[in-house]
Structures are given as structure tokens and as C-alpha cells.
Symmetry: none
Subunit: 209 residues, 4 copies
């Protein structure tokens, strides 16, 4: 029995190793430019073994994405549990998002910026559903905070869901701008300045005059 357990542990460790190596490479070179050979080599496994753990390159990619999403969602949920006033929660959420962008640039790019192509199209739904649920939940929590702010009289009476989505979109959009070298040349300032500026502008827009 102990043998079987050890084997299971080893299998999990191996799986994890593959994911880690794949993530590093997918980030550095994108989905297409990363080869299964490279992943296998970096993980010190044979190429065939990769196919024991993942049915295809696509599935491996989605798995990597899921791991990254989990980290982000966890951080976001923590924020909601902090019990701060609504405007501060929102600012904090922006900071958390930006922090994640800084700390996990690799995941961030894979999740939001890299071309996924038809990667997720022909994958089994269950691989995705859990993340989807989490996303919906986060949005509800966010909308709840806005709702609170309105009820407490510090926010203007807006549609809370829309506000939450606008916030997410705007934040993402700013970070996205900086992904392209050419855009950076046009922008001519650094991310931090712009992201905080946008946060403030957004919150100012929410606050009652």
C-alpha cells in the first residue's frame, strides 16, 4: 500500500514538473514556438512520457492556464475577506491585480495576452468549468462591494455589475497596452504611473460628488 502511495506521489510530482517547465517555456516563447521536445528536455523526461500525463500540447497549455488562474482567484478572494470600506476594497483589488501582473508576469501573459488560438475549443468542458465558476463568483463579490458602497452612500447609484466589469476591463486594458513594444514607444511612461492613475480615475468616477 505504501508503495502505491509513493507511486502516486511520484506521479503527481512528475505532472507538476511538467507543468512548471511548460509554463516557463510557453511564457517565454508562446504556444506555437514552444515544442514538446523542449518541455520534455527541461523536465528531464522523455517526450513520450508527456503524452502519458497530457493528451496533447493543447491540454497541457490549458492546465498551465488553470494553475495560474487559481493563484489569481485566491488572491482576489482574500481581498474580499479583508473587510475594508468599499472604495478601499476596489483600490486594493486593482493593486492585487497589478501585483499579480508583476509577480506572475508569466501566468499573466499566458492567461490574458497570449494568443490561445483554438486551444480551448476542443477540450473537455470540465477542465474549464471550475475556473469559470470562480470567475463568476469573483464578479459577484465585486458587484456586492459596489452595491454596499451605494447603500452606504459613498458611491453614486450605478449598476454594480457593470461597474465591476468596467473595472476589470479597464485594468486589464491598461496592462495590455504595455505588452506591445510598439505601444510602449507611443506611451512613453511606465506601467505603474498609468495603472494607479486609472484606478484613481475610476474610483473618482464612482464616488458621490
Amino acid at each position: 500500500m505504501g508503495i502505491e502511495e509513493r507511486r502516486n506521489r511520484e506521479k503527481l510530482a512528475r505532472r507538476e514538473a511538467i507543468i512548471v517547465c511548460a509554463r516557463e517555456l510557453f511564457l517565454a516563447k508562446g504556444f506555437n514556438a514552444t515544442t514538446m521536445d523542449e518541455i520534455a528536455q527541461r523536465a528531464e523526461l522523455s517526450k513520450g512520457t508527456l503524452y502519458l500525463y497530457f493528451n496533447s500540447k493543447e491540454e497541457l497549455y490549458v492546465t498551465v492556464m488553470s494553475e495560474g488562474l487559481k493563484i489569481l482567484f485566491d488572491r482576489i478572494e482574500e481581498t474580499f475577506n479583508l473587510d475594508l470600506p468599499p472604495d478601499q476594497v476596489i483600490r486594493k483589488l486593482g493593486e492585487v491585480y497589478y501585483r499579480y501582473y508583476l509577480d506572475h508576469r508569466d501566468y499573466f501573459r499566458i492567461l490574458f495576452f497570449l494568443e490561445h488560438g483554438d486551444v480551448s475549443k476542443q477540450l473537455p468542458r470540465e477542465l474549464i468549468q471550475a475556473n469559470l465558476d470562480k470567475g463568476i463568483r469573483c464578479l459577484q463579490l465585486f458587484a456586492g462591494v459596489v452595491q454596499n458602497g451605494i447603500e452606504e452612500g459613498i458611491f453614486s447609484p450605478v449598476d454594480p455589475r457593470k461597474a465591476a466589469l468596467a473595472f476589470w476591463g479597464a485594468t486589464n486594458g491598461i496592462l495590455f497596452l504595455f505588452e506591445e513594444e510598439l505601444n510602449r514607444e507611443i506611451i512613453g511612461m511606465d506601467v505603474e504611473q498609468l495603472i494607479y492613475y486609472t484606478l484613481d480615475l475610476f474610483i473618482k468616477g464612482l464616488l458621490k460628488k
Copy 2:
């Protein structure tokens, strides 16, 4: 004499046909997944002919992007020439951007959402410079409008450049959200509602209380 003219017309038409076919395919499948064979086939030309008009797949891609950018920039510049009050210019700009997103979904995706990878890296600078310059110019015009608004006393005293960038990033970010099937499931409302909402929020944030 008329002969040469007709030939030139035909050449331009053929060039345009290639661009059209390439755009459709690049949009549908991304840069990497689109092959020169497919483009040639769709354009009913031989593969070799493509290389008479474009030196490489990359150059063709950038040409497609440029054509799309040109349309967008033209629309934006028109807006600046409309001689409206600053807050209305900005709203109009948002609408123009959204309109472009609706009318030229294919260009929009290619320009802003598709992974370009290293496409533009090894291309002659001059292919890109013109677009870059236009982008910078648009941003300056935008910042000028904000500046006017401040001087006229209708906007709070903000950094005009930052405001312009935040606007661009936020608008882009909203539209970007809707690109992913999965996001759309989370969002549960249509683009139009959210984009106009965000526009209003943004302008409200700019206006003096």
C-alpha cells in the same frame, strides 16, 4: 498608354485581393496557423505570386495591419476635426472606436488582440514607423482635447497624456474582455451596454464636480 494604366490597376487589384484573403484567414486562424498556401488558394493565385507582391508572410501580415490601422486613424482624425466641446469629443472618440470594432471586427482583432509574436521584430522599420507616428499623433490630439477641457474649466486638472492613455486602455480592455468565449459567459451582458457605461464613467471621472 491605356494599357499600362490598366495593368497597374490590375496589379493593385490583385494586391488588394491578396490582402483581403490574408486578412480573413489571419483573423480566423491567427498568424501562425495561416499558411501561405491557403492565402494563395483563396486568392486563386499561385504561392509564388504572393511573393511578387510581398516579401514574406510577415510583411503581408503587417500590410494587413496597416490597412486596418489606416481606416481607424482616419476615423479618429475626422473626429478631432469635428470641433465639438472636449467632453463630447471624448465620447465621440469612444463611439468611433466601438463603431470600428463593430464594422471591422476582423481588423480590430488582428490589430489589438491577436498575438503578433515576433512578427514585427525583423521587419524594416519604415514599414512600421508611419503607423507609429500616426499613433503618437492621435494621442497628442487626444491629450490636447483634455488640455482644452481643463483650460475651459470643465475638466478637473489632470495629466492630459495619462487621461488619454487611460481612456485608450480602458476602452480597449472592455472590448478585449468580449473576445474570449469564456469571458462572455462570465460577463453575461452585451458589449454595447458595457462600453457606453464605461465611457460615461470615464467622462464623469474627468468632469469637474
Copy 3:
């Protein structure tokens, strides 16, 4: 255990098979006109497999050359070990060279007559260095023999290095003449007559009067 050995044997055999097929084709058609497809087909392997054994067409070509050079160098070194008087060593060397030309016409052509173009230009130096060293060594041995002949008083006092090089160049040049169909028509005699004649002439030039 024996399994691994057998596998290694098989791999080596396959590698050798590739080299053999490549040699035949390179000889028959030259470097450029020979395609990897043809080599693969002749070796009854897939094209991809070729690239498991050789990183590029160039590397395969150089490998073929190396194998041919090895045979020649081995024969030459044997000759030096024969412990003959200087003039007889030199004659023997000429014969060995000519013998190699007869026995390994394919290698001979590839080594000395075929245009290699830029084949060796972008190859890692170490692939070539070994052969270069052998070549230099052979030349030194040759010069040593001439030096001995001079010291023993049977050769005129010449520059031993130059003599060795002149010998190599002259021998090669004669054989080279016969490579072109057109030259053969002009010459009107067979290789053997001319090569031995030249050998004698050369040695006569070295010998003290």
C-alpha cells in the same frame, strides 16, 4: 543489457547506411543537386529520421568527407611507417594517392573536386578541426622525409615544406585533369601513364644530379 547494445549497434548501422547513401548521391550529383528527400528514400528512412542523425545537410556532407579523409589519411600514415628510403617513400605516397583515387573514386571526387561552396563555412569548427590537424600532420611527415633525403645527401637542398606541397598539388592536378570529359579528349592518354610519369619527373627534380 544486451538490448541496449543491440540498439546501439542498430543506430550505428543506420547512421552508416545514411552516410553510404549520401555519399553515392553527393558524388553522383554534387552537394546542391542532392536532396535530403533522395537520401532518405534511398536509405529507406523518413526525412525526419535523417535529422535525428545529422543536424543539417551540410553536417551530413562533412561527415561523408570525414569518412573518406580518414581512409586516405590512414593509408598515408601507413606509408610513412614503412621505413623506406626517402625517394621510395615519396614514390609510394604517389602510388597510394593514385590507388585511393582508383579504389575510392567517389570519396576522391567529393574530397578534392566537388565544389563545396560554403558548406563548411557555418559548421562548428570541431567538425573540421580533426581533419585539418591530420592534414597538417601528414604534411609535416612528408616534409620530414624530404628533410631526411637532403640530410642523407640524396636530395638537392630544397625547402622540404614547399617540396611536399608541390608534390601534393601536382599529383592532385594530374588526377583533376581527368575529371573533365573535355580534358580527357584533349589529353588522349590514360591516367596511369601520366601520373607515374609525373611522379618520376618530380622525384628526378628532387634527386641530386
Copy 4:
């Protein structure tokens, strides 16, 4: 009539221009690496026009070779007309050959060193016959000089034809050695030293003791 003459002149000039451009390119890049496009461009003609003057790339190549041969043969024949003593004629011939190598490196390489592949195989005989005849004639003249030297008692009694061929082969072989970068590394001295050394050695071999 004058019109037709002018046309003929123009046609010849055009033909010559093609040959000149082709030679420069064939030398610089070899047969395969030179494209008809480049030749056409350099000659400021359309690619189609090339095919009005030459049936194929191969035929153009052979034509280039013929022009180079003509120059060499003319120089050689001049030498025979100089009326020098036999040993000096031979030395002079070596010098002429080496001079041609220096002055017309491009032709020299094309004529003797570049891979011709099957270039000349399927070409009409008449393109080649004239050169062949000249080659045979030169060889006869050379053999005649040796014969004279023998009759005058300054050369040992050798086979004059063989001597001539050995001379040609040896000289060619020396120059050939220097064509390969790798050989040059082995050789470690310059052409001039070695070619004159070989000439002297050869003549010494001919001279009566």
C-alpha cells in the same frame, strides 16, 4: 540596310552585356547561387530577354566559360610566338598561366574550379568544339617546344606530350590547392612562392644533368 545593321549591333551588344554580368555573378556566387533574376537586373534587361539570347542558364554559363578560355588561349599562343629558348618558353608559360590566374580570377575559377555539374552535358557540341580544338593545338605547341629542347640537347629525352600534360596538371593543381580555405590553413604560405617553386622544380626535372 543600315537599320538592320544597327539592330544586329545592338543585339550583339546586348548579348555581350548579358555575358559580362553573368560572369561577374557566376564567379562571385557560383552557378547554383546565381539567379537569372540577378543577371537580368544587372544587365538592365528583363528576365524573358535572357531567354531570347540563351536557351537556358546552363548555356549562358558555358558561353561565359568560352569567353574566358579564349583569353587564356590567346595569351598562351602569344607566348609560343615569342621565339625564346625552350626552357624559357616553358617558364614563361607557367608565368602566363599564373598571370591569368591573378588577372582573371573570375574566369579562372569558373573554368577550372567551379562545380559545373552536368552543365555541359546536354549542350550542342558546336559550343564546345572550337575550344577543344584550341586546347589540343596549345598542347601540340607545348609538346613541340619540349621536343625542340630535347633536340637541342638541353632537355633529357622525355615524352614531350607527357611533359606538357604534367606541366599543365601540376600548375593547375598548385593553384587549385589555394582555392579551399581549409587547404590554405594547412599550406601556410602564399601562392606565388609555391607556384614559382614548382615551376623551377619542373624545369629542373626536364633539364639535362
